[in-house]
């Protein structure tokens, strides 16, 4: 029966090519525009570490003095050196890492490559197992390396391609800021999006090329970047940030069960209370423990513009749908006489209805294919843009399926009313007027 309806639908669509094309184009445009923006939204609001994000937490504590204190204020978005190190050494989580961003001059051994600046991450050993960072070659450093300020470095695959033509570079030496580092590992392409672990360096920015132990970076006074908030006596400059009353580091912790998370929050409260007793903290304990997605949400990571665009694209899809409803209505009603004959020959209303919906679905499928092509063009245009997030805009499998479902669903929806109207024809009347 279905194949017969399909045959009827194709015949009918062929009969009036202009109207068919108009409907297909309208659906394709609507689908294309909305899928383009939805894909961007999907990529941007996506989970950077879907396997693990619910176990990663970003502790916030409030070490500030009473100046400008308001009870409902949120604690600072980063931690001080003292607190970071204390939390790190307490080892209350399954994994924990303290980190900040920076940039270092890389002085390649080859004279053919000019010295250049590379974005760097200064962090501690757990960074790699905690974030499931994939390694192409070598291994991450250990906490012993952290303690001994080891001159070791992990580099990104991109940097490895640039300096070592993609060969295994572990054991080689990399000169940075006039110091020699031993390369112990190469990351496989790793670009979590958004750049969740440090939102100061741009939410969707490219990832760092070199990873150096935080202690080593501080010892060698590597250039730091990111945001810093100070209070009270503040800091006396970049060199004594360890003692400064400034927050400038990110601290992440992995807690494998909700019970551990609750216990960790308890621990943070206890820690704040203790520091207050010691006189280092002045405010009442104010702690937060958002998980990864909660942290992204709190920071409103998805650009407002992208959400606006998604709304707009939906409005546009709606216009295209209403348009398709109108055109289908015109098309179906024009065939009233044909439908009258089918009804008179014994087709039930239900059969006619089904036939018309098959026709609507066919249009939807064609529109979906067109929309998909348009979405590819649209995403290609987005990727041409200079935004941080532009290069991430690609269609993945779920979005591809969603496109087709949306196209067919939308056109079936658009076909419902016209099909119902067309079923209402009185066979006798239609036959008579012929």
């Amino acid at each position: 029966m279905f194949s017969y309806y399909l045959d009827l639908a194709l015949r009918s669509l062929r009969r009036n090519k202009a109207l068919t094309a108009l409907m297909v184009v309208a659906i394709a445009l609507g689908i294309g525009a909305s899928m383009t923006t939805l894909t961007v939204l999907h990529v941007l609001s996506g989970d950077p570490l879907p396997e693990k994000s619910s176990k990663l937490f970003y502790p916030q504590i409030d070490p500030q003095d009473m100046d400008g204190y308001k009870p409902q204020d949120d604690p600072p978005a980063q931690v001080t050196w003292l607190d970071g190190i204390a939390l790190l050494h307490a080892k209350r989580g399954d994994h924990q890492a303290l980190m900040t961003g920076g940039a270092v001059p890389v002085q390649p051994a080859q004279s053919s490559i000019e010295p250049f600046f590379e974005d760097a991450r200064y962090t501690t050993a757990d960074f790699f197992p905690m974030f499931d960072v994939p390694l192409l070659f070598g291994r991450p450093w250990t906490s012993a390396d952290d303690d001994s300020h080891a001159r070791v470095v992990l580099i990104s695959r991109k940097l490895n391609d640039k300096l070592f033509q993609g060969h295994d570079s572990t054991g080689q030496t990399l000169r940075m800021e006039d110091a020699a580092f031993r390369i112990i590992g190469v990351l496989d392409g790793w670009r979590p999006s958004p750049h969740f672990y440090d939102l100061n360096s741009g939410n969707y920015s490219e990832d760092e090329g070199v990873f150096v132990p935080l202690t080593t970076a501080r010892e060698l006074k590597f250039g730091r970047s990111g945001s810093m908030d100070c209070w009270g006596k503040g800091s006396g400059g970049e060199d004594d940030l360890e003692a400064a009353s400034c927050v400038w580091l990110q601290f992440w912790v992995e807690l494998d069960s909700p019970a551990k998370a609750a216990a960790y929050k308890e621990y943070l409260l206890h820690y704040s209370q203790e520091q207050k007793t010691l006189g280092r903290f002045q405010r009442p304990p104010n702690v937060r423990l958002p998980d990864l997605m909660g942290w992204l949400d709190y920071n409103k990571v998805v650009p407002g513009d992208v959400r606006l665009q998604a709304w707009l694209a939906f409005g546009f899809l709606l216009v295209c749908l209403v348009n398709t409803v109108g055109l289908m209505l015109a098309k179906f009603l024009r065939r009233s006489s044909e439908l009258g004959v089918r009804r008179a020959l014994g087709a039930s209303k239900r059969a006619v209805f089904a036939q018309l919906l098959v026709e609507a679905g066919t249009i939807g499928l064609a529109g979906g294919i067109g929309g998909l092509l348009l979405a590819f063009v649209g995403l290609w245009l987005v990727r041409m843009q200079p935004s941080d997030y532009a290069s991430l805009a690609r269609l993945d499998l779920p979005m591809l399926l969603a496109t087709f479902l949306l196209a067919i669903g939308a056109s079936l929806l658009a076909g419902l009313l016209p099909a119902w109207r067309a079923c209402q024809v009185t066979p006798a009347l239609q036959l008579k007027s012929n």
Binding site: L19, L22, V25, A26, L29, G30, A33, D67, G68, A103, P105, Q107, E114, P115, F116, F117, W231, G234, G236, G237, P303, G304, D305, R307, L308, Q309, W311, L312, A313, G315, F316, L318, V319, C320, V322, N323, V325, G326, L327, L329, A330, K331, L333, R334, V382, Q385, P386, S387, L417, R421
Partner: protein
């Protein structure tokens, strides 16, 4: 041609018989009107942002940054580099500064107007700090409104000690910053404080943008102050070499400056940029959003027009007999045209009335949830007019087809 008053009644009677298609057209126009008004409003806001004025000579300005130099040697490096840069053919002025408007490289601080203002004082005003060396005013092309720029002594004596504020007592600020500190009063000779530092205003310049702007609050985007800074005491804060030449030379000057700095400072990384590029990059997201909106609007209007053409054509086909009869009993082609045009006008009017309400509602919603300001009222009639024109333009073809139905159709049965 005889002019008769337009008869609405038969049109309304016929529309009542085709309630669903008529409602669809009204709905489509309403939605199109709502989306169009809001999209055009967003476009205009983006365009305004992209063209935020800034009183410096943006066309002739080139910047070159140098990273990886030794901060202890800047006292001799900067004068040497500047001398070399001045030697480039076509460079009229060269100077050094800590940051540039729209460079994202912001150094913010807040000051108060009373001597006991400390940093955390809530009444303080947050401003962006620019530290600038000799000749910076002429290189940037700052417009001095009142007072003067820093003199040679002030420039030579200013330095950083342990704090991130300079050891000097003079400041030049923008007109907006002066107005924010002392509303309605002359700023010249007054003092801003951040305990224990204080600075007296010696000059007021025309508004220059901050390194980061606030697109929703453009007034705040101009709160910038200039401090003098010596090369020797700058502790690496002076990182933007700026050069000014004729606009047609800027690309060449940029390349030569980059090369020259790289040659003079082996091991450091030099990067040249024309100021026009800096502005373009800053607003790149906005301009791509604006273009996307334009595209959506155009395509949406096209789709709406197709819809009107399709449905009206269908009506014309359905009514060939009636049209033939009207023609046979004396209606001219003009009357038939007029009938369809009036019908379209009625439908479009209903559509835009609903659409204007919808557009207003959407704007309110966006204002509550996103950074969006209130849409000025004239966008609504503007959108309505656009859809009226679109409706009339798209009905023209089908109406003409209707008018060409010969009267003899009435006598034939199809």
């Amino acid at each position: 041609m005889e002019i008769r008053p337009i008869e609405f009644r038969p049109i309304l009677a016929s529309l009542r018989k085709h309630r669903i298609p008529a409602m669809l057209i009204v709905l489509e126009i309403a939605l199109a009107c709502a989306v169009l008004c809001n999209a055009v409003f967003m476009i205009s806001q983006r365009v305004n942002d992209i063209h935020l004025p800034s009183a410096i000579d943006e066309q002739g300005l080139v910047s070159a940054t140098l990273r990886g130099t030794d901060d202890k040697l800047v006292g001799s490096d900067i004068p040497r580099n500047l001398a070399a840069l001045r030697g480039i053919v076509g460079v009229q002025q060269a100077a050094i500064t800590s940051s540039l408007p729209l460079s994202h490289n912001n150094w913010g601080w807040s000051f108060g107007t009373s001597p006991d203002s400390a940093l955390a004082n809530r009444k303080n005003i947050n401003v962006s700090l620019y530290f600038i060396g000799e000749g910076g005013d002429k290189t940037l092309g700052l417009h001095m409104l009142q007072g003067r720029f820093f003199n040679a002594d002030e420039l030579a004596d200013s330095k950083f000690d342990t704090a991130p504020l300079p050891e000097t007592h003079v400041v030049v600020m923008t007109r907006s910053a002066a107005e924010n500190f002392w509303p309605g009063q002359a700023a010249l000779g007054k003092t801003i404080y951040s305990k224990p530092y204080y600075y007296t205003v010696v000059g007021v310049v025309d508004d220059v943008l901050r390194p980061n702007v606030y697109t929703q609050n453009t007034r705040k985007s101009y709160d910038a102050v200039y401090f003098p800074m010596s090369a020797a005491g700058s502790k690496g804060a002076l990182s933007y070499y700026i050069l000014r030449g004729a606009p047609q030379d800027r690309d060449r000057i940029m390349r030569e400056a980059e090369q020259k700095l790289a040659d003079l400072n082996p091991g450091a990384v030099a990067k040249g940029q024309t100021y026009a590029d800096i502005r373009e990059k800053y607003f790149a997201d906005m301009s791509s959003m604006a273009w996307m909106l334009v595209l959506v609007c155009v395509v949406m209007l096209a789709v709406t027009a197709f819809g009107i053409v399709g449905l009206t054509s269908f009506w014309v086909g359905q009514r060939r007999r009636q049209i033939g009869i009207r023609r046979a009993v004396g209606a001219t082609r003009g009357h038939i045209m007029q009938y369809f045009q009036t019908e379209n006008l009625l439908l479009t009017t209903a559509g835009v009335v609903v659409g204007m309400g919808l557009a207003f509602g959407i704007n309110i919603y966006l204002m509550q949830h996103y950074e969006m300001s209130r849409m000025p009222w004239y966008y609504l009639p503007g959108g309505a007019l656009a859809l009226w024109l679109l409706g009339q333009a798209s009905v023209f073809g089908p109406a003409q087809k209707a008018a060409s139905v010969p009267p003899v159709v009435a006598t034939r049965s199809v």
